[in-house]
């Protein structure tokens, strides 16, 4: 398990290689990459600033990954979340999961993303014409997280 909170960009190919190279026990590898979109609803976005809570952020990500590892057989997990100033098209977050089985790899990656949205202390401020605005926490994120609570949805 490896978790990073960083300003620097990341390379998906490099991260994936670090998880799988030299191994032949992995059957399924899932990656999720979140990117800055140039639109939010009807508004043009010209950039985004990501603020975080140093120390607590890393621990929150470690805890989320540890929880995923108790639920699914994971052979490797990589989480990278950027902070600072980003532009449309920039990568924000990477979650990569490796497992013998594809259902587990998919479920774990979705689980980590859902939990990360509501439990990792990051805050997005979108740059819109005339200023900036803090992104509202979406009810959709709370319900995406809630679906992982008992009964457990996936044991395939």
């Amino acid at each position: 398990m490896s978790v990073s909170v960083q300003e620097a960009d990341f390379d998906i190919g490099t991260e994936v290689a670090g998880m799988t190279d030299g191994r032949s026990d992995i059957g399924a590898l899932v990656t999720f990459t979140g990117l800055v979109r140039d639109m939010a609803g009807d508004a043009r976005i010209d950039g985004m600033t990501l603020e975080h809570y140093p120390g607590m952020t890393e621990q929150a990500l470690i805890d989320i990954v540890a929880e995923a590892q108790t639920r699914w057989p994971l052979q490797a997990v990589r989480v990278i979340h950027r902070h600072g100033s980003l532009e449309p098209g920039d990568r924000i977050v990477l979650v990569a999961t490796a497992s013998p089985h594809r259902a587990a790899a998919f479920a774990a990656a979705e689980f980590i993303m859902d939990y990360l949205k509501t439990r990792a202390p990051f805050w997005k401020k979108e740059g819109v014409p005339g200023g900036g605005r803090w992104v509202d926490a979406r009810d959709a994120d709370a319900s995406a997280e809630a679906r992982w609570q008992s009964p457990q949805p996936l044991s395939k």
Partner: protein, 81 residues
């Protein structure tokens, strides 16, 4: 006690962190104290339901006790990912 502010809480108060001397027994009492300081704090703490609090970097409730706590952080719901 260190008190940290993030996102629009930080912007409304005008600083990211400060050291606060307080006798407050709970988060709610600390919020009352801060709210009474000046209009910037009053604006930041206007609607506590829009806020979250962490004690020593772990999420907590507003009625949580402050005994032994070294770091309190106030922020809006998280929006990462």
């Amino acid at each position: 006690m260190d008190v940290l502010y993030f996102a629009w809480v930080r912007e409304r108060i005008g600083l990211p962190r400060e050291t606060v001397e307080t006798e407050a027994a709970s988060v709610a009492e600390l919020v009352e104290e801060l709210r009474g300081r000046d209009p910037r704090y009053a604006a930041a703490f206007e609607d506590v339901s829009a806020l979250r609090v962490a004690l020593d970097q772990a999420m907590a409730d507003f009625d949580a006790p402050l005994a032994g706590v070294r770091e309190v952080a106030f922020f809006p719901p998280m929006t990462g990912g």
